[in-house]
């Protein structure tokens, strides 16, 4: 599958008035590792992040289009996009290419105006899947489901959420040959954004 060509793992979790989004850092071509500092998570603005799993070229192209569309929205509306709005934008852009899709599965996480966290994922043609607790995507998604199901608790504070998402990510990528080489975690609260690089099994 072309979705497994580069290998990836992306996960987002909801906490109490905060959220976390994390990904692995490997870029491979099938089983050969090309880079160990690949960026899959990007900041759209201070309160909305997107993680893109799947084919790396399309990840970068889609990211550029999203930044462009968000910039024009910001200039015209003189405000940032709400997470729900941004998710609909991503969905619409993906469905535009219904019969030749961007080969990505996005994970979107953000804080709304009332500091209520929002997370969602979608497939490569933009079918939204909303969740209250956590969302996963990438080649390690199956093991991520298991790890998150076991470790997640509702209403965690920022620090505990960081521990949980990091442990879930690191243990999942160890069970997947195509993702790994450490992790990249963002914890977003109404007042600050914490960014941390994780070391895992670096092989």
């Amino acid at each position: 599958s072309i979705f497994e060509y580069n290998g990836s793992a992306v996960v987002a979790m909801v906490g109490k008035n905060c959220f976390a989004i994390a990904s692995d850092r490997r870029l491979g071509v099938q089983l050969q590792t090309i880079a160990t500092d690949f960026q899959r998570i990007s900041k759209i603005h201070d309160r909305v992040f997107i993680g893109l799993s799947g084919l790396a070229t399309d990840v970068q192209t889609l990211y550029q289009r999203l930044v462009f569309r968000h910039k024009l929205y910001q200039l015209r509306e003189e405000r940032d996009m709400k997470p729900e709005t941004f998710a609909s934008l991503v969905s619409a852009i993906l469905y535009e290419k219904r019969f030749g899709p961007y080969l990505c599965q996005p994970v979107i996480a953000g804080l709304g105006d009332d500091d209520k966290p929002f997370i969602c994922t979608m497939d490569s043609i933009g079918a939204k899947e909303l969740a209250k607790d956590f969302v996963v995507s990438g080649t390690a998604s199956e093991s991520l489901y298991g790890a998150c199901e076991a470790m997640y608790k509702p209403d965690m504070e920022a620090e505990e959420l960081f521990e949980t998402i990091s442990q879930a990510l690191l243990s999942s990528v160890d069970r997947d040959c195509l993702s790994g080489w450490g992790g990249h975690v963002y914890i977003v609260t109404p007042t600050e954004i914490k960014e941390r690089i994780l070391k895992g099994r670096m092989d």
Binding site: F68, K71, L72, L75, R76, E78
Partner: protein, 208 residues
């Protein structure tokens, strides 16, 4: 006037003039004016607000000042429906370019001519404004001095007698200490303070 040579924008008159273009420039001469001045540490834009009805729903956005990109802003005088299309095109095109050539000020008109300026004025009484600017512009002026000059020019060229915050909009473009380009729009309160400071807002004092 001539009716034969102004039906289309591409028809020349026997004297080699394009009437439609000249009419368009004339239309802008009647619009509320906008002035831009270059300082050594930034650029200042001021605009004259024409619509000041109490009944008008005041949106947060300004009448004639628009942010084009993180590092570009523009002020317009003329027909707003046309301006909106130009602003939209400019915003899209701006996403394709890089920055880093210091502060600059440009002016363009319906004929398509454009050029870089140290101080420029468009709209009503632009010739009077231009000549005051020519007299008073100093090469090494700071942003604060330039704001003062801009307010002075506007207060002298505007048709109404007293200059108030509702009839004015002012924006500055400058570098923050962290070398980021910042576009700052003055609030009505800070405008009132500026007008008092520079002594141009003595209500009904100047009667002409």
């Amino acid at each position: 006037m001539s009716r034969r040579y102004d039906s289309r924008t591409t028809i020349f008159s026997p004297e080699g003039r394009l009437y439609q273009v000249e009419y368009a420039m004339e239309a802008i001469g009647n619009a509320g004016s906008a002035i831009g001045i270059l300082a050594k540490d930034g650029v200042v834009l001021v605009g004259e607000k024409k619509v000041t009805s109490k009944l008008l729903q005041t949106s947060s956005s300004m009448e004639k000042m628009y942010k084009i990109d993180d590092h570009v802003a523009c002020a317009v005088a003329g027909i707003m429906s046309d301006a909106n299309i130009l602003i939209n095109t400019a915003r899209v095109q701006a996403q394709r370019w890089d920055r880093n050539h210091g502060f600059q000020l440009y002016m363009s008109d319906p004929s398509g001519n454009y050029g870089g300026w140290q101080a420029a004025a468009v709209g009503a009484n632009n010739q009077a404004a231009q000549s005051i600017l020519k007299q008073d512009y100093k090469d090494d002026a700071t942003r604060e001095e330039v704001v003062q000059l801009a307010i002075k020019v506007l207060s002298k060229t505007m048709d109404s007698t007293s200059l108030t915050a509702e009839k004015l909009e002012l924006a500055e473009l400058y570098l923050t200490p962290s070398k980021c380009v910042k576009y700052h729009v003055h609030s009505p309160d800070s405008l009132t303070k500026l007008l008092v400071k520079h002594g141009v807002t003595q209500p009904a004092a100047e009667t002409s």
